[in-house]
């Protein structure tokens, strides 16, 4: 009786029953591509893991060039379960980028961006950008040699872009070189700017999904589709996925603990075989293969501009391919998507074996 009274009290003030009714109404279509619906939720779950482990790491991490490396060393050697928390943070970050890519490509091939879901795609594309910034800024924080050089190269690439490049490089580095000032900035981006941006974007993204309901592939539009209740049927399936993810993360952290490497030294040569994180590898490999001069232009500049162009194109996908009836354009987009996927996979593998 007491609990009933409490529930009524809260309901009057928070309209809980409205939210509960909405959750009850939510349904997930069941068809042969339903498996792809899980990857958005999985990405969100891994983001939560990042938030929790990230806050924990903040308890001990010290963001300065004199203390950063030592504090991470302290975390993984002295703090109880520090190795676990840090490794999970690194592994979960990588898995999150992977599930995010899977989610994006599945949405792309299943045409979930058709009207009225253009803004959902747009918020997702921004989230991909934010996630990559998370990865790039977080990579520097342990202040080890690999991170130092990756940041040097990464910011140098930004600096190559005509006109805006140079000011952008100085803004990112907090000066002309990668120094302690860069570390302080990246720390600020990583723990304040990006989390705030990501949280706002995720809220918009998820709200839009609720507003429009789950999309079905174009072939099934207008046909009767079997449905599954979101609460509890789909949610429980999600939950199993998340528990599996925790198991995978713990196993990866225990079997392949994330290396710390050597402390960054601005006056040491770059270590041999230096490579960026896997999700940057296909771009890295492309830049290595482009000749120095292409038709009189700097090959590097062309390559970087091309990647910027493709990234920009990503944002416009729902505004170019917007007619479900236009089968020719749909076919072209399928081919482009497959080609992009093959290119990324081939270049990534090529980058690894060379």
């Amino acid at each position: 009786m007491r609990i009933e009274a409490l529930r009524a009290w809260l309901d009057e003030r928070l309209s809980l029953s409205t939210v509960a009714a909405m959750a009850q109404k939510k349904e997930v279509p069941v068809h042969r591509h339903s498996i792809w619906y899980y990857f958005g939720g999985m990405t969100l779950f891994l983001f939560m893991v990042q938030v929790v482990t990230g806050i924990l790491l903040l308890l001990y991490y010290r963001p300065s060039s004199e203390t950063a490396f030592e504090s991470v060393q302290f975390i993984i050697t002295e703090v109880k379960f520090g190795w676990l928390i840090r490794s999970i943070h690194s592994w979960s970050a990588n898995l999150m980028i992977a599930t995010l890519f899977i989610h994006m490509f599945s949405v792309f091939f299943l045409r979930a961006y058709y009207k009225p879901r253009e803004m959902t795609w747009l918020s997702g594309a921004f989230l991909l950008f934010v996630a990559i910034c998370f990865g790039f800024s977080g990579y520097l924080l342990p202040w080890n040699k690999l991170a130092f050089f990756a940041t040097k190269v990464g910011t140098e690439i930004a600096g190559v872009i005509p006109i805006v490049g140079r000011p952008m490089l100085r803004f990112l580095r907090g000066g002309d070189d990668v120094t302690g000032a860069t570390l302080t900035r990246f720390f600020g981006f990583h723990v304040a700017v990006l989390p705030a941006t990501a949280t706002a974007l995720i809220a918009i993204h998820v709200l839009l999904v609720q507003l429009h309901g789950m999309s079905v592939p174009p072939k099934l539009i207008g046909k009767p589709v079997k449905k599954m209740k979101f609460v509890p049927n789909f949610l429980l399936r999600d939950l199993i996925g998340w528990i599996l993810a925790i198991g995978v993360l713990a196993a990866l952290a225990a079997l392949f603990p994330w290396e710390l490497g050597e402390k960054a030294d601005a006056f040491a040569p770059a270590p041999a075989g230096i490579k960026p994180e896997w999700y940057f590898l296909f771009m890295f490999q492309t830049l290595k293969l482009i000749p120095a001069k292409v038709l009189g232009f700097d090959g590097e500049v062309l390559g970087i501009l091309a990647f910027n162009g493709v990234a920009l194109l990503l944002f416009f996908v729902p505004f170019i391919d917007r007619d479900p009836e236009n089968l020719r354009r749909r076919w072209i987009f399928n081919v482009l998507g497959v080609l992009a996927l093959i290119y990324i996979v081939v270049m990534t593998v090529y980058g690894y074996v060379t």
Partner: protein, 160 residues
């Protein structure tokens, strides 16, 4: 759930079972304990992670607190004893005294006052005499006293 012959639930009717209650309860039990074990496996490392590890205190037992020449008569000096501050006092009579400089009240760092010839804590006006005994203000205990020896030009302080 009540599971008498009259009060069967839909789930039980769909899956007739000679002993529905025991099997279901066994599965519920398995699910519940697994959930608790999983939660425990997540919460325990987090809890341990949050409690900071003991920083090993330096095992220093004695330290050179000052040079004879740098500490005039009727003055005091704060020195590092491991990772804690200590206070070395040269009294008006030229005698050396050393104490922990951490006030026993709320852990402020004390200082020597040449005018009153006392050790004084500025935070809450705590006063100690030159034997380290709390003689005024809120401090509840005397300051811990250290041994002082002079070795050539060095004033050496050691834990007794």
């Amino acid at each position: 759930m009540a599971n008498t012959a009259q009060g069967m639930t839909t789930a039980d009717r769909e899956y007739p079972d000679p002993q529905p209650n025991t099997r279901r309860r066994f599965l519920d039990y398995l699910l519940g304990t697994s959930a608790v074990a999983t939660l425990g496996a997540i919460v325990y490392p987090i809890f341990r992670f949050m409690s900071p590890p003991q920083v090993i205190e330096s095992a220093e037992n004695s330290v050179v607190a000052a040079k004879l020449t740098e500490i005039p008569i009727n003055s005091g000096k704060i020195f590092k004893f491991g990772n804690k501050p200590g206070i070395l006092v040269r009294t008006a009579t030229g005698e050396f005294k050393a104490f922990s400089a951490v006030c026993t009240h709320l852990e402020c760092i004390v200082q020597y006052r040449p005018d009153t010839k006392q050790i004084w804590c500025a935070c809450h006006n705590g006063q100690y005499n030159l034997g380290g005994k709390n003689i005024g203000g809120p401090p509840p205990r005397p300051l811990e006293e250290y041994k002082v020896n002079t070795r050539g030009d060095d004033v050496v302080v050691s834990k007794s």
